[in-house]
């Protein structure tokens, strides 16, 4: 069947072609710049470990009551199809169900207890742009972030004559409910993901 010389048989050539394409594509995808960092569901391990463990099963997304956990396919395979939360449209409500169904421990199980969650969950850090904040700019009457914060008083408090919000990076769990509540005319709050540079 082979032509008796140094040339490889067609099937072997095809095999090498397939393998080469796969390997090349894979390497390309791995070295391509990662997409902007995103908020991970609560209980997520730190970044190299999270991607190492997440098997893209999306059980976390399946049990999320507000439907906050989403995923996206990207060419950069390292982060492709991993779960993330876009707080501005649908924040995490700290129910901790996702942490109870993760099969590989990419999301460490956390009790849905207020104190435990407050101590262990750190999805991201709050960043307020006072130039945009209605309270600080005194362009209206707004304390929405304070009212929705599950840890109001600790993660956010009202200060000054304007009763403007002041966030505490150490106490904030990063759920993003403030980011969602902030009026569309302001959009003054962003939760920067814990893993990676701000998006």
């Amino acid at each position: 069947m082979s032509d008796g010389g140094k040339r490889l048989p067609p099937i072997t050539r095809r095999g090498l072609l397939v393998g080469g394409v796969a390997l090349g594509g894979g390497v390309l995808s791995l070295i391509s710049p990662p997409p902007a960092a995103r908020l991970r569901p609560p209980g997520a391990l730190d970044e190299p470990d999270f991607t190492r463990r997440c098997i893209r099963c999306l059980r976390c997304a399946e049990v999320c009551p507000p439907g906050a956990i989403r995923f996206a396919t990207s060419f950069g395979m390292a982060g492709s199809d991993t779960p993330y939360i876009e707080a501005r449209s649908r924040p995490c409500t700290l129910c901790m169900r996702c942490t109870q169904v993760c099969p590989s421990g990419a999301l460490a199980p956390i009790d849905a207890d207020r104190t435990v969650v407050g101590a262990k969950v750190r999805m991201g850090h709050p960043r307020l742009d006072r130039q945009k904040c209605i309270a600080w700019q005194e362009s209206g009457e707004c304390r929405a972030c304070y009212y929705v914060c599950p840890y109001a008083g600790a993660a956010v408090r009202l200060d000054g004559r304007q009763l403007g919000p002041v966030f505490d990076r150490e106490a904030c769990v990063g759920c993003g409910q403030c980011e969602e509540a902030c009026p569309e005319a302001a959009l003054a709050i962003t939760i920067d993901p814990r893993n990676g540079a701000p998006s």
Binding site: I11, G15, G67, D81, R97
Partner: protein
């Protein structure tokens, strides 16, 4: 016969589950006022208010499944995790049922449970149609070691990149995600392009090309099931060398010539198709061949 009926029922169940389980979850969440635009902090509080309980009975897809507390993990996921360093004893326990079944039944997952089968069936149907129209697509075959090489590549890249990459190219995992997306978000994502590509390969390039030559999960099941004692056996006296069984087999096996390797998925189609009833699935000496060197003519 009973075997085919059983097998097809399992396939149907597996495919249906990919739609039914997310739909059930969505109904639970929606029915309790949760779902988009709802909030429900704190588990016990939410439960008392009617939001679903912490631990639902059934969650996931064949890739990763939990049913009434029992965790089942696709061996490809388990091996990837063990290699990328995210493994634990829980992983080994979760893949154990599949490993044992594969050890006994070989590549049974592909014949009994893989949700890619309907796509493959559609591709085969289209191939048959095209052939009848006179535009029969080719059936290109690469080296028979290809699926194992690809498996190795995926695992190597996973270790190198520190990420579990197999679910991004493994059709059952992709189908699970896309159907979930369709149910929950009302649309499929870019990942469905891989399925479309697989369908095109299976139609226009190689018959059951994905299953035979590309699927890393299939390759792993073949490795696990290399010593499976349950196999197709041929009655030499009854067989009249008609070749029907070879025609029917999707996976490049040749029961007529006893040319079987680990790629046999025990689908039983050859058995069912033999006009002389010369084939049967029975326990016996394992095939113990990973892949045969000689291709079919």
């Amino acid at each position: 016969m009973l075997y085919q009926w059983l097998r097809r029922s399992c396939l149907a169940l597996s495919c249906a589950a990919l739609y039914v389980v997310p739909a059930w979850h969505l109904a639970r969440l929606r029915g309790n006022g949760a779902g988009p635009a709802a909030g429900s902090n704190w588990a016990d509080l939410a439960v008392s208010a009617g939001v679903p309980e912490m631990a639902p009975g059934i969650v996931g897809t064949p890739w990763s499944f939990r049913i009434f507390g029992i965790e089942l993990l696709d061996p490809l996921a388990g091996v990837s995790l063990l290699l990328t360093g995210g493994g634990a004893s829980a992983i080994l326990i979760a893949i154990l049922p599949w490993v044992i079944l594969a050890a006994l039944l070989g590549r049974f997952f592909c014949g009994w449970l893989c949700p890619y089968v309907p796509v493959l069936a559609a591709a085969n149907g289209l191939r048959a149609l095209l052939r009848r129209l006179g535009a029969g697509p080719p059936d290109l075959q690469p080296d028979r070691a290809t699926p194992f090489v690809l498996l190795g590549c995926i695992l190597l890249l996973s270790v190198a990149g520190g990420a579990v990459l197999a679910p991004l190219v493994y059709p059952p995992a992709i189908l699970g995600r896309q159907l979930f997306s369709a149910v929950f978000y009302g649309g499929v994502g870019a990942g469905s392009a891989v399925i479309v590509l697989a369908f095109l390969i299976d139609t226009f390039i190689s018959r059951a090309g994905v299953c035979r030559w590309l699927c890393p999960g299939g390759a792993l099941f073949r490795l696990l099931g290399i010593a499976s004692p349950v196999r197709v056996r041929r009655d030499r006296e009854a067989c009249d060398d008609c070749g029907t069984c070879d025609e029917v087999c999707s996976l490049a096996q040749s029961p007529m010539t006893d040319g079987l390797d680990s790629g046999c998925e025990r689908c039983g189609k050859c058995v069912a198709s033999c006009p002389q009833v010369a084939l049967r699935l029975a326990a016996g000496k394992p095939i113990a061949v990973l892949f045969r060197r000689e291709p079919l003519p």
